[in-house]
């Protein structure tokens, strides 16, 4: 079944057409990758899917429902989560609190019980804390529980964003270059983590430059070039596509 369907989506900035007449769909419980050179419009596409940018035209639907006009938070409530290429960590909080914020939608904190710290509210808070701690262990950040986010290394922050997104128990998880800036060992760990997340039933959309990682984990690959779809299919199909070889893979991987 299609989780996400994008139809004729376009977004321009002044003269630049970052995403142009793009259509594709994402099937459930798979790992989809979106590749393309820098500036191809991958991040812009994520921003459109999460509602951070409004499209110039086109339609986005999640599980059959049109979500094109919905604000970002409402899309989160329907099960979309993401990480950011340029980290968007809550640097004014601890690592654990960052992940606890990810539980916001299920916690549904209410004002009066919070102000008075009623037993039910305190209990829900403790549960959230425990769940967040579990998630941090799950992504391999067990030893950073009490760390302040602004004292953590880059690689750990990348995982922290993943843990925060997972805390919302998304149906669709968008990862924007999760391995960028990581060394080979760390990349292998992220590779393994992505597979584990997908095996748990979350649909993953991965934007990544590391071709080894992409080819290894993806069930399906979409290739973007100047905001347009250049090709899509399985790793093998994409690798064999002459357009792709010419425009993108030609230099390195082919």
């Amino acid at each position: 079944m299609s989780v996400l369907t994008v139809e004729n989506l376009s977004k321009g900035f002044g003269g630049v057409q970052a995403v142009a007449e793009l259509s594709f769909s994402i099937t459930e419980k798979r790992i989809h990758s979106i590749i393309g050179p820098n500036g191809a419009g991958k991040t812009t596409l994520f921003n459109l899917i999460t509602g951070i940018y409004t499209p110039s035209s086109g339609r986005i639907s999640l599980l059959g429902d049109d979500i094109t006009g919905l604000p970002t938070a409402a899309r989160a409530a329907r099960g979309i989560q993401r990480t950011f290429q340029n980290l968007q960590i809550f640097f004014n909080m601890t690592a654990l609190e960052n992940v606890m914020v990810g539980r916001h939608l299920s916690l549904r904190p209410r004002l009066l019980p919070s102000l008075l710290r009623l037993p039910a509210s305190a209990r829900a808070d403790r549960e959230t804390e425990a769940q967040a701690a579990d998630l941090m262990a799950y992504v391999g950040l067990g030893k950073w529980l009490d760390a302040d986010a602004d004292a953590m290394p880059y690689g750990a922050l990348k995982r922290l964003e993943i843990a925060r997104a997972l805390a919302a128990r998304p149906r669709l998880l968008l990862l924007d270059e999760p391995a960028a800036g990581l060394n080979a060992v760390e990349t292998a760990e992220i590779d393994e983590l992505i597979k584990r997340i997908a095996a748990g039933g979350t649909t993953v959309v991965l934007v990544e430059h590391d071709m080894k990682l992409v080819m290894g984990v993806s069930d399906h690959i979409l290739v973007l070039d100047y905001g347009r779809k250049l090709a899509d299919g399985t790793a093998a199909e994409v690798r064999a596509n002459p357009d792709v070889i010419r425009a993108y893979l030609g230099a390195g991987a082919a």
């Binding site: 991040t43 940018y53 340029n86 968007q88």
Partner: protein, 295 residues
């Protein structure tokens, strides 16, 4: 008609003063993204220093004015050097709120100094060229108003020449567009920041001198003028030079017309009511651009 003209004259005059103060805000904002809440105090210093130089120092008006503008500019430079620079020069910079508090501290400090040295009384400057009003279509125009409008026009022309034609002016513009890029091409952005404080202080000082014969001057006259200048700068779109001028004139006119036709009791509120309404409708001011934040 005569009545309307009367209100329009006084609106234009105050509006020109607001515009000068607003230009000062815009200059500093462009160089550093700092809002200088001591901008109004430059107005105070300009007027009060002229008074002091004339009554205490025995200088003639013609000498006292440039001297007072110089003094104000020096205070502006000192403010940048000793209060703003140490805060934003630190690694990591300083938050908006921190800088706001620093410049507010500076404004309180300056008011304190003026009050200690020159007292708390109202002072008056003689009008530059007599007080015999000129009759235009039944409305009476004070000669001082002509001075205010004329000098403001000159200043605007001079600024236009400075930013459009001179090397340093272009460097300042470049810095406001992209600080990093300006640094890369070898512009000394710290000097630009320093100069912007000196220049905007001089503008404020000039405004204070021009208006002193009309509104009188006092150690705390700068509070309201500064706030309204800020409102004018925001109204036009923060950082826009033409916006500052349009904003200043618009606020001055609106204020005078509202005071004339509606209620003079709420004259001081007009500027702030307008700014609230405009911000509700256009969150980045009349001439300010919109931008998509990049993530």
């Amino acid at each position: 008609m005569a009545e309307f003209l009367q209100f329009a004259f006084s609106g234009l005059t105050v509006g020109a003063i607001y515009a000068l103060v607003a230009l000062g805000f815009a200059l500093i904002y462009n160089a550093s993204h700092v809002i200088n809440f001591a901008q109004g105090e430059f107005v105070t210093i300009g007027g009060m220093a002229t008074v002091a130089l004339m009554t205490g120092g025995g200088l003639p008006l013609l000498l006292a004015i440039p001297a007072a503008v110089m003094i104000t500019a020096l205070v502006g430079l000192a403010l940048e050097k000793f209060a703003v620079e140490p805060a934003i020069g630190r690694p990591g910079g300083a938050s908006v709120v921190t800088i706001i508090i620093i410049t507010i501290g500076a404004s309180i400090f300056i008011r304190g100094v003026v009050q200690v040295t020159l007292g708390k009384d109202f002072h008056r400057l003689p009008a530059f060229s007599g007080e015999a009003p000129i009759d235009i279509l039944g409305a009476r125009l004070q000669p001082q108003s002509l001075w205010v409008l004329g000098v403001t026009l000159l200043v605007v022309a001079a600024l236009w020449w400075f930013f459009g034609r001179t090397r340093f002016g272009k460097a300042m513009l470049a810095t406001s567009h992209n600080r990093l890029a300006a640094q890369l091409v070898g512009i000394d952005t710290r000097l630009v920041l320093l100069a912007s404080f000196g220049l905007s202080a001089a503008l404020g000082g000039l405004a204070g001198i021009l208006t002193a014969p009309i509104t009188l001057t006092k150690y705390d006259i700068g509070i309201m003028l500064g706030l309204k200048g800020f409102a004018a700068a925001i109204l036009g779109g923060l950082g826009s030079g033409p916006g500052a001028i349009v904003g200043g004139i618009a606020l001055g006119l609106a204020e005078a017309l509202a005071a004339g036709y509606i209620s003079s009791a709420y004259k001081d509120a007009v500027a702030f009511i307008i700014i609230l309404v405009v911000l509700f409708v256009r969150p980045s001011g009349l001439l300010g651009g919109r931008s998509t934040e990049r993530v």
